[in-house]
Symmetry: C2
Subunit: 443 residues, 2 copies
């Protein structure tokens, strides 16, 4: 056991003997989850945009509004394979009295005709091709009968067509000037199709927020180190990197914070200059000689809160320094996971200009009983649709050390605190973790 | 109009005059959607694995089973901040008769003690630290009273502890030998945490299938070309690239196929050697001088089907050549989109070894009436949870040319064909497009 630790422990124990530990613990006044989210979101900034090739934009967020600079379609098109004609020429047509048309040209997709279509004339036209001037309807190929007369193509029509029949009109899909897509839109395959159709071979996207991650804890080994008694490998760093990527940010693993206070302070001060946000894991509890509160103090950072009425993750701390947010997540994997999803993810999505930064909330039947808890619980769960019902099942025993319970988790069941517990089949709120379509409303 | 086109058209019209066109059209016998999926999935191959750094694995699929090579935790740990003791020493403890312990050492997280704990002795222990030998319980700091006597640390306990109280046992989370993760698991943040905890600084993932995309159509302009009468920009290429990325594959945009049949044949034959799968868009209808059927014939490819009883996308064609699948998707954006999601996505997910290759299916209330249709419809829709109910709303007028209807689509409403239509508020099946948790069952 290091001497420094013994000295710190002794000092703490001395404080405890004087009956002060309980005071120190209780000095942290828990804020509600809503209040914590509100405090963080009030300080959120929106990110700048950068230009990139369209092919690199899947999963990015638009950095500009996209406005239609032309109608779609930008010409009248044929809905079917057939003949373009003037509808008034067909008004007397019937099976008994077919009307005859002379076929004067043929238009393939992407082509146009230079000919003028007169009464009694038709132009063979392919699906999607441009309707010739003076024509206002298309008769489907199957509804006509073609024949030849003196080396010329003809066809007959046996029914009357309405004006506009089988024509897709200019601007029918999108009118010029329409706002097609707003800044902050998530670029899915359909969005990308629209960008392509409007000629955006390069497009503005919001820069991904760059987020540094420092882990703390003398008990942590690097992933590639062999296990030794008393120590465990650092899993939070990799987990957070993936959570940042899922949220749309760019993670930077800064490794472990030095145990030396001054070095630790310097590292954090420097990281705050280099990154848009900084996440630390561990070192925020009152119970284990945590020095992050001291770092916040020396920086002169404003601590927004250091205790939240929630389980797990009640020690989640957020501080602000020079307009930048420092997220002090708990060192325990589940608390770290939940703290990220509730407080960091909406900050990232807002930075990306998304108007829907919050996890999507649905309701589902709880698969098990839950005992009462004074704080609101966020239970890592798997939500599924089975036999016509939505069911939410906790993925582990919900003990904070259960890393394995994170694997199957695709949702957080929300169980508000109170004196009564929850019973099986009760409907509860559920936050979806994997859903791109998020919500504009918090919890 | 190009002369070649006129010649082809004339030839076709000549055939039509002989009453043969209808035969050609009707020779395509539609298969059901289930049958089409089954035919494709019978020919699916599973991809090989490659090794990559853990930090690059978000969104990839595991290429190996991951088995616990040690217990988790791999030592008995303290659940709380407090003192490790032998529980039998507390059996007589009560508020009236506190039991006194001499504190002989302190163990921080990541540390161990070299001392032997005898009767009447305790070791101060932090959350998560290793329980000393001979101790079997931890009393929480708040439940003790510390004091000093002759320069030595002591504390008293006023309640009896059970053996194992506040101890997280070795292997309680995961037993050595447990299969933690199976090949084909999607690597989400929780999976990555588990991989880190088990020392996988490098991990086997399944290689992404490499998929070439050829678009066809004389009406298509490149994204960066200005609009001209009769032509439209190619949006399918970009859309498919994003769909492939969403499914987990690696897209390669091969541009437009040459109009010359021989050059086109050569391009396709060559692409089949270079890529795991090949997608073409357009050129599969009978109506528009499509030459892909001729290419399949010249290749000697086995056409699995060329007509499916579905809307849109009934002309979706899949062929097999030398164990590789060629997907002939329709050139119309919506048909192309739906064809990809129903037939290509499960092939990609199976290649990635996922046991759940199919889109997740839920049920929701239809927001509008729908007329009857003989073929099953897959309507691009937005599914949302609102006022306690799941609602599915078509995102456009469901006309095949409506690119803009793809933007808001996060689901496909499934409306089986039949003589009766659908009415508002009727419950229908819905396939989710953005959900990572997929299904092992088709439709």
């Amino acid at each position: 056991m290091p001497e420094a630790f013994i000295r710190k422990l002794s000092a703490k124990m001395a404080v405890y003997e004087k009956g002060e530990i309980r005071d120190v613990v209780e000095r942290r006044t828990p804020v509600s989850v809503h209040e914590a989210i509100h405090k963080v979101m009030r300080r959120v900034v929106k990110g700048p945009s950068e230009t990139t090739a369209l092919k690199n934009t899947y999963g990015r967020f638009l950095g500009e509004d996209v406005i239609a600079d032309h109608d779609v379609p930008h010409f009248h098109r044929s809905r079917y394979d057939g003949y373009a004609i003037q509808s008034e020429n067909t008004q007397s047509a019937s099976p008994e009295h077919p009307v005859e048309f002379k076929v004067i040209d043929a238009i393939g997709a992407g082509c146009t005709t230079s000919k003028t279509v007169h009464d009694g004339q038709a132009v063979r036209i392919m699906t999607g091709a441009q309707i010739p001037d003076h024509c206002d309807a298309v008769i489907m190929l199957e509804e006509t009968k073609a024949f030849e007369k003196q080396g010329q193509s003809f066809m007959t029509v046996t029914k009357a067509l309405a004006s506009g029949e089988n024509v897709i009109f200019k601007g029918e899909d999108v009118k010029e000037g329409t706002v097609l897509l707003t800044k902050g839109t998530y670029i899915n395959p359909g969005v990308r199709a629209v960008l392509a159709a409007f000629g955006y071979s390069r497009v503005k996207v919001t820069k991904k927020p760059e987020i540094g991650i420092y882990t703390t804890g003398t008990e942590l080994l690097d992933i590639s180190e062999p296990l030794v008694p008393g120590k465990i490998r650092n899993s939070n760093g990799q987990m957070l990197q993936a959570q940042i990527e899922r949220a749309g940010g760019k993670p930077f693993d800064l490794g472990r914070l030095n145990d030396n206070f001054e070095a630790c302070y310097q590292s954090i001060a420097q990281a705050l200059e280099s990154f848009d946000y900084l996440i630390t894991t561990g070192g925020v509890s009152v119970g284990d000689f945590d020095y992050l509160p001291a770092v916040y103090k020396k920086l002169g950072a404003h601590v927004l809160f250091n205790k939240i009425a929630m389980r797990p993750g009640s020690v989640t701390t957020v501080a602000e320094y020079n307009g930048k947010l420092l997220f002090g997540l708990s060192g325990n994997p589940s608390s770290c996971y939940v703290g990220f999803e509730l407080y960091v993810r909406p900050v990232i999505r807002t930075y990306l200009n998304s108007p829907k930064p919050y996890l999507k909330k649905i309701r589902a039947r709880l698969s098990v009983d839950f005992p009462p808890n004074s704080f609101t619980r966020f239970v890592r769960s798997n939500v599924s649709f089975c036999h016509g019902k939505w069911r939410v099942s906790p993925t582990g025993l919900d003990k904070p050390h259960m890393i394995s319970s994170l694997v199957e988790a695709n949702a957080l069941a929300v169980l508000p605190g109170g004196t009564e517990g929850y019973i099986r089949d009760q409907m509860v709120d559920v936050l979806l973790l994997n859903e791109e379509s998020q919500s504009s409303e918090s919890l």
